[in-house]
Each structure stands twice: as structure tokens, then as C-alpha cells.
Symmetry: C2
Subunit: 289 residues, 2 copies
């Protein structure tokens, strides 16, 4: 078995049924250099305790997952969502500071879909812009980058009214690049005829906060949220997108985030092993180092 | 019960479990003015017999469904696919000539996904361009319009490597507008931040061959192909897209094509009745007449 690629990071969603302690341990034990954790597990373990475990592990922190879900109209729900995002920003700052050198204070944002009963897609998109405007100063003060993630258009009504890189970049454009960037995830963007131009634009504007690799395979699972596969197991050719990201100068960690019941049913150490192998075959050949 | 809108057309997929004779009869009996049939049922009934039934019914023929599926690489499969598309062009010409005044000789094209085992999305898209180039002279001679249909990006690997209106228009641009146009279907395009500009472009270039309305609702069905809903039953706001199509001067029939098991399990006459009602509420208010 080869050593893991030095830029590979495990996103905890890939090994969902782990505590923060277990996720950190299985990642470290596999010789991987970086990890991104999910808020639920961090909160269960406690933020300070997680920061301590992370520091002890020697792992870099690649992203914090996740904020967003702020397309609700004015009212208590919206206020609560923005408050929760401020807590997520705080968590991101603490964990990135606890991680090894090269950690990135990046909070991934899945912005949310249409509010219940609404058909106002443009209004929801405007409320995303408004929410980012409200959160950006708070993030900037704490040195955190908000990473807007365009999701596949099949999630446009229920998870993300942002579907393309250009939409995310158009919102980010109002803010400093170190405060608002984008998440580039192959699963969500591979179909887009403009994806390479979008990556080039994101690079030129200094907005690539994180790069995530994940494969697409049809038929999709009955629950389409769980249709994400190990790199190399599906239909995505990672060459062009990965080379385009590399060409921008992005040199951060590259996360593998797999929501998939069969993978969740696998022993975490085995899922990590398969992630290492898939990354080596399907992604690593297109990286500088 | 109100009379059906004069521009409403029933696509046979909405009443899938009908013969051509039954589909024509249930549509005519409901007072609807136009129909689009599927090739399987036309071939079962026989082309000449279907043309005769159509002429007797007084219905307009709005589209023929469907051709395409020509992303295969060079070889017998590709030759067979192109031959089959020539037959579909012949059928389209015969049926549109048999339909009442206002019939449109439009063959809808679902181009196909990635060939088995392939990850070459750009290559598949180029083979679409090549196939259209091979078929266009044949269609032009018979006065048939090939209507490239961009499908929702969730079908990019298995049904259509064309996902956006701009992609379809970029291919169509090499040909005369009366020979190669586009199918605009709300279900496939509603999420696209550029959809209104795409419709305006399609109109300016004279490429709108047909407009189809169909609603989107999440959660999607386990088989995402069958997630299409009566207009008004889902999350699409039909106002902006319909107004944009109208503003181009498009004055043809507007089809409702619903692939949905629950609708297929409904009596065809009842499915047609519900289609009329949904169209009246969700689409008709944005039409000139």
C-alpha cells in the first residue's frame, strides 16, 4: 500500500459514524495529513476538547462543515440561522488555529433551498447575498473564510439555490477574497460546460477556498443526497478540473467528502484506505505534488 | 370546468399507457387542440394508420418524441442510431402533414449520455454536434426541425450530455434555424441562473422549436426520471420563463409532458383533466392568448 498523498484530507462525512476523536485517530493512523470535521460531532465532543485532540494529532484542519442554510425570509428563523453561522465561524477559527501549520480557517457554506411553500428562487438567492453581507464582517474579524458552495442543480429547491460557480463568485465579488471564497466540488460541478472557465475565474479572483473531489455515478441512489462515490468509481474525469485548480496556484489540501450509505456501512479505517487508493489513481496524477 | 387553453398540447408521455388511438381520442374528447405522440406507440399503430387517425381527429401535431441517443463512438451502434433518427425524421414529416393547420414538424432530440465505461464528456458532446451535422440535411429536405433538448444536469451522464440552453444553441448555430432548434422545458431549466437570457437568445436566433411546461418538486422520486409534476404542483414559478418565451414571439403549442408513476396510474381522461386545470392556473395567465 502506498503512502497517502500529502495533500489528501478526509472530510468527516466520509466516515460519518465516528466521533471527532475517532475521526481524528483513524485519519492520523492512516498517515493522512489533514481533516475536515462536521459541526455536530465537534459540538458533541466539545469545541475545546476537539481543538486539543486536533493539536495533539498533528493534523492540519482543512475545512469546517458547515454553515449556511440562510435562505429563510425575515423573522426569528433567519435570526437564529445567522446566529448559528456566527457560532460556526467561531468554531472554524478555533479549530484552524489548533491544527498544524497549513491549516485553513475555511467554513463551507451550503446556502439552503427554497423556503417551505415558496417559489421565489431569485428572492432566495438575494437573501443569500444579504446573509453573506451580514456575516462577512464577523468572519473577517476572526480571520475566517466563508466558502460558498454551489451544489448540483438537482438540489436547487431543497439544499442550495446556488448551482454554479459563477453564481457563487458573483456574490463573493462584493467582499475581500480572504473573507468570501468558494468551494469547488467535482460532484456538483462536473456537468457544467463552463466549469473550467469558472475555476479559472475563481483562481484569478483569489476565491478558491477549498477543492473537494468526489465521483458521480448513475443510476443515482434513491436518496440522491447519498450518491457520492470514491474518486475513480464513477464517471467523472478528474484530469481537467484538477489541472485547472492546480493552474490557479491553489496549493491547499484536497478533501474527499462522500455521503453514501454503503461507504458509511464500511469500517472507517477501510473507507479511509479506499479513499487513499481512489485519490491516488483518479486525482493525484494531476497534482504537482 | 373551463375549456382547455387553446395552446395546450398533451404529450403522450403524460398518458403513457395509451395506444396512439386512445391518446388521440382522449385528447380530442377533452377539447384540447394539439398532441405530441411517442414513436413506440406510433410504430405499434403503424405510421400511416396514425396519420389517418390524426387527420380525422382535427388535432394539431405539436412534436414527435423522440430522436437522439447518438453519443456512441464510431461503429455499428452509431450507424444504427443515425439510421433510426432518419426514420424518426420521416415519421415527423408524415404526422405533421397529417395534423391540422398549425402543426409543427418538430422532432425532439434527447441526445444521450456517456457511452458505457466512458468518462469523455467533451467527446460525447462533440459527437452530438457531428450527429446533428449528419442529420440536418436529411431533416432540411423533409422540412423537419430537429429540436435539441437540454436536460437537467442530473441526467448528464445517462441521458443527455447537453445540460444548458446555451450548449444546445451553440450546436444549433451551425445550421439554419428552421432545421435545428431547441426544446425549452421548464423542468430541465428552471434552476439555471441564465435561463431567461438563454430564452431571449433562443428567440433572437429563431430557435424555439417547442416550449414544454412541467413542474419540479422535491424530494425527487427514487427514480428521478419519474419526478415530473402537473404545472402548479411543485416549486417552479412559470411566470418569468413563460413571459420570456412569449416575448420572443413564439406562438406555437405548449406541451405538458409528465413522466410520473402516480400520473400514469391515473385514468388518462383524468390525467388530461388535471393537466388542463394545472396549465390554467400555473401557465395560462402568462400567455397572450
Amino acid at each position: 500500500m502506498t503512502a497517502p498523498h500529502p495533500r489528501l484530507s478526509i472530510n468527516q462525512a466520509t466516515i460519518k459514524h465516528t466521533t471527532a476523536a475517532q475521526a481524528i485517530e483513524v485519519t492520523r493512523a492512516a498517515g493522512i495529513g489533514a481533516i475536515g470535521l462536521w459541526r455536530e460531532q465537534v459540538q458533541e465532543a466539545g469545541l475545546d476538547e476537539t481543538a486539543k485532540m486536533l493539536a495533539d494529532s498533528g493534523l492540519r484542519y482543512s475545512t469546517h462543515c458547515r454553515g449556511g442554510w440562510f435562505t429563510a425570509e425575515e423573522g426569528p428563523g433567519r435570526v437564529a440561522a445567522l446566529d448559528d453561522n456566527r457560532r460556526a465561524i467561531d468554531e472554524t477559527a478555533v479549530l484552524a488555529a489548533a491544527g498544524a501549520e497549513g491549516s485553513r480557517p475555511v467554513l463551507v457554506l451550503v446556502v439552503g433551498g427554497l423556503p417551505e411553500g415558496s417559489r421565489d428562487l431569485l428572492g432566495a438567492r438575494e437573501r443569500v447575498r444579504d446573509a453573506v453581507g451580514q456575516l462577512a464582517p464577523y468572519a473577517a474579524e476572526r480571520g475566517v473564510t466563508l466558502a460558498l458552495e454551489p451544489l448540483h442543480p438537482m438540489y436547487a429547491s431543497d439544499r442550495s439555490v446556488l448551482s454554479t460557480l459563477d453564481q457563487a463568485l458573483d456574490i463573493a465579488a462584493d467582499f475581500a477574497p480572504e473573507t468570501v471564497g468558494v468551494t469547488i466540488d467535482t460532484f456538483h460541478l462536473w456537468w457544467d460546460p463552463d466549469v473550467i472557465e469558472g475555476i479559472e475565474r475563481a483562481g484569478a479572483e483569489g476565491r478558491i477556498a477549498t477543492y473537494q473531489v468526489c465521483d458521480w455515478k448513475t443510476p443515482l441512489e434513491a436518496d440522491n443526497l447519498l450518491s457520492r462515490h470514491y474518486p475513480g468509481d464513477g464517471m467523472i474525469d478528474f484530469a481537467d478540473m484538477t489541472r485547472a485548480v492546480e493552474a490557479t496556484g491553489y496549493d491547499g489540501d484536497i478533501e474527499v467528502e462522500l455521503l453514501n450509505q454503503a461507504i458509511w456501512d464500511t469500517e472507517p479505517a477501510e473507507a479511509v484506505r479506499r479513499t487513499i487508493a481512489g485519490f491516488d489513481v483518479a486525482v493525484a496524477p494531476y497534482l504537482r505534488a
